[in-house]
Subunit: 199 residues, 2 copies
Amino acid sequence: MQNQANPIEIMANELARLPGIGKKSAQRLAYYIVSMPKEDVKRLADSIWEGRSNIKLCEICGNYSSENLCEICSDERRNKNIICVVKEPRDLTAVERVHDYRGLYHVLHGVLSPMDNIGPNDLNIRSLLMRLADGDVQEVIVATNPDIEGEATASYLARLIKPMGIKVTRIAYGVPIGSDLEYADEVTLAKALEGRQEI
Amino acid sequence: MQNQANPIEIMANELARLPGIGKKSAQRLAYYIVSMPKEDVKRLADSIWEGRSNIKLCEICGNYSSENLCEICSDERRNKNIICVVKEPRDLTAVERVHDYRGLYHVLHGVLSPMDNIGPNDLNIRSLLMRLADGDVQEVIVATNPDIEGEATASYLARLIKPMGIKVTRIAYGVPIGSDLEYADEVTLAKALEGRQEI
């Protein structure tokens, strides 16, 4: 009964619904938040709600955006001849963090997954094909995850896009930079050998 | 520039200010929150803000409460002859979780710490002495953490309270030295209460 009425417990229960936050750390966070200056908590709560309510999907690429077009699609300096296809907006952010890639993106919002009943129509694929029909794009890099579903999605996209005369590439597999060969799993190592490059 | 304007980044930055949430997990959480149903996010943000803004300190014991008196102080069934003194409200919650203790509490909101310039006047001690002056209380259990500051605070309280003819006890060293009350498991905490010694 006490737990029902207590605002701290209510807050802790809401926090515990977030991924990676267990019951105990949710409670710890709730107690911390209650001890924070009110204006800081206001800013935190507002950033959460406003972040969620102000976000829409970019009409071109499907990235999260506060405007109708995301910052990348509306940036005239980006290379419009190349599109990098990712599963989720946070993957886009990861690629963007590299600062090497200057092309555009397309966010699928998922990958093909027969097990979860996710087919091509559940993904943001139709709008990708419409973008490609314009004729500007010369290459599509498929940067879905190197797992079964990511691979299946990449193959599916390649089958659709190649007949349009557009080059379809896949990000390279290999041992991660700075890692130890000894600890690489067999599949990764096999892929790294297979994809070896002349130096 | 992108990071300044982006609502997701703003949310991630606010989340990263919380203890135990690094920059990367804050970003992960922010992306997760953006993908949550709006009504769930509303409830989360409201619980955070309302939890903080509706909470005050119990006028008797200093515990967090949504009313002037906390649920424990206003519960007639609690044993008014015994007061358990804790450093923080979350320690009270930890003791309460044991379900063994049926007395009252007093929350100091800190411990003596000359290093941090925290003296007796910075703690909720005066109101404890006023409660004891009523004459109902026969025992004060000091359940501050088993560390240097917790010990010093316990000794200080014992010196103040014993002359009033009130028994002062310390929770037993069932709790591992140097640890945090909040993380003690129920059995350890129950043993510690059971084995309390007069100081």
